[in-house]
Amino acid sequence: MGFGRAAGSVATLHEARTARDVERVVADARAAGGRVLARGLGRAYGDAAQCAGGELVDCTPMARLLELDSEHGVVRAEGGCSIASLLRTCVPRGWFVPVTPGTRHVTLGGAVAADVHGKNHHRDGSFGGHVVALEVVGASGTARVGPGLDPERYWATVGGMGLTGVVTEVTVKLRRIATSRLAVTTERAPDLDACMARLTELDAGHGYTVAWVDGLASGGRLGRSVITAGDHAALDDLPAGMRADALAYDPRTPLSVPVAPPVSLVGRGTLRAFNEAWYRKAPRRRVGEIQSIAQFFHPLDAVRDWNRLYGPRGFTQYQLVVPFSGADVVRRTLELLQRAHVLPALCVLKSFGSASAAPMSFPMPGWTLAADLPLGSPALAGVLDEIDGVVAGAGGRVYLAKDGRLRPELLSTMYPRVAEWRAVCERHDPEQLFVSDLWRRVAAVA
């Protein structure tokens, strides 16, 4: 199942240690007329890394770091290598990943397939823009692709949700860092307009920005939020005691949710109390706080298996992006969720910069809002359909890596280049060997 722990399906799992293992699984599936899909660390919230009744290639054993050019900051690693393990090696040597999502527990292959974005999207774009080359095991063999090497197939793989094949190797450019810390500005914003205005201002001066939004605040306080903006700290920014070991990197996972409780612990009461506390504890404005990479980029990774908090029914994440001209959709979305009595548990707002060249990449210049939503509420399906309509009407889209329920009719509206992308997929995979539950669902195919 996906990270949202809902709508799971069963496939045969094949542990892949090398690209040769992957080739074997693909060839066998092809001979048997079956289906194949790669799976990494299972952080897609919905059914993107599920292949019901087919063959799932577990890429996580294929996790070696093959080559690190410490001079130019280029790393070549196997597709199952996680950002977490990459950081352990690179950060002490003064290099950082070009883009990291809100969790470090994603594989490089997954980062390419979902074309992940991070808090620096407004400046640096998504992951696919920093890749030098990929090795992809497709239906008809293994290929090396990159922006300068079979770009059509490369850009179909970026954001292609695994449907062009299994990414077995990734070469990516890193970013130079002087320290493993971030200098962070934290601000409270009393409402959505203030939040958007401040985010826009902070985007101009900071490499990383994001806002945590209190999804339960309504009326005049709708969209009240805590904005954080950060930059990699220079050596001089650190207190004297930290300078001796400026590149120290040792993320901890101190907490864990050992079992899924029989009912969701994310309720209106607990959430309201948490949001109130989170908002109140944030300073009105604080500048120059020093935070670790884990604190700043991956706060939820401090709690192992936190997704279990939602109980047996699980949750979904709804992430939308709308062009800046459709900024009002963000307000409307929060209002619609609240009116339907759906609990927007964890809401995050950020502005995106330029779009990628990849036809299926999610980000576009505009506002992106992500909300974790507990499943099981009777109004949820209807209200998300309604929000889809509003988002599509404004020229926006939802993120397929998070999706579990998009109406198929809207796929080509939200992703107008889907047919062009599909044609590339099918040219390299005419038998449509590579299929996911996500694709079967959003393309409405059996």
Partner: protein
């Protein structure tokens, strides 16, 4: 596929002319329904249900024969369904008939026929579909049981006993399917005002087919294993199940 909110795209209905089935499929059509196979024996009501779904814009509506007591055809039925719609996200088992509980009318043939229609046939077909759905690695089976099967009453004891059998079968099937990606939901309505119960005085807490369908949709959203309609039956039947027989007999039915 079934989506994260529990809504299916490809549906098969055994007892496709049943009013509860019609009410449910109409609701699913408002969500994600793309293809449906209505399987049944009553041509007129099956045809009416099919036309209604076509009018609602369901892209693919198929009809096929399903006779509960013709178990020899059940494997072939699964093949017919897969040929037409490719895969099954949701199987709704809604076949059944109330029959009689008049001792004098209960000839061996009548008893066998009633048990066949309400238990043996639906169980046989469900098992055949369950195998196919296990192989596809996902899906949901929704079976209409009845509170009549939770504690059998004299007024409909053949029907009740058969539903008790089907209910137990599905509980075991649900356990057998654990870890296969296929989930079973057992629906236990009380008295439902439909053609099947026409002419009978409505029992207390009687509901309509629409109420049952709403409850099933809720159950799909919640991922429920058992759906009682109305919900209060869960509590009432917990008592009824343990009522001394001397008292149970005296409850007017």
């Amino acid at each position: 596929m079934n989506d994260a909110t529990g809504m299916p795209q490809r549906v098969v209905v055994l007892g496709g002319g049943s009013e509860i089935a019609r009410a449910l499929v109409v609701r699913l059509a408002a969500h994600r329904l793309r293809a449906v196979v209505l399987a049944g024996r009553d041509d007129a009501s099956l045809e009416a249900a099919a036309r209604e779904l076509e009018a609602l814009g369901v892209p693919q509506v198929e009809r096929t024969r399903f006779e509960a007591n013709d178990v020899a055809d059940h494997e072939a039925l699964v093949h017919r369904v897969l040929e037409r719609i490719g895969s099954v996200d949701l199987l709704l088992v809604a076949a059944g008939s109330l029959g009689t509980a008049e001792l004098d009318a209960l000839t061996p043939e009548v008893v066998a026929q009633l048990v066949g229609t309400n238990f043996t046939g639906p169980a046989a077909a469900t098992a055949a579909f369950a195998r196919a759905m296990r192989d596809q690695g996902s899906g949901r089976i929704v079976v209409l049981s009845s509170v009549a099967g939770v504690r059998v009453r004299r007024s409909n004891f053949v029907y009740g006993a058969a539903k008790a059998g089907l209910d137990g079968f599905c509980q075991g099937l649900a356990d057998a399917l654990e870890g296969t990606g296929v989930q079973v939901t057992i629906v236990r309505p009380g008295f439902v005002r439909t053609r099947m119960t026409a002419g009978l005085a409505a029992a207390p807490l009687a509901v309509g087919a629409d109420d049952v369908a709403d409850a099933i949709v809720r159950g799909l959203e919640r991922g429920a294993d058992v759906v009682w309609v109305p919900a209060v039956f869960q509590v009432l039947l917990a008592f009824a199940r343990h009522l001394p027989r001397a008292l149970w007999r005296r409850i007017p039915s």
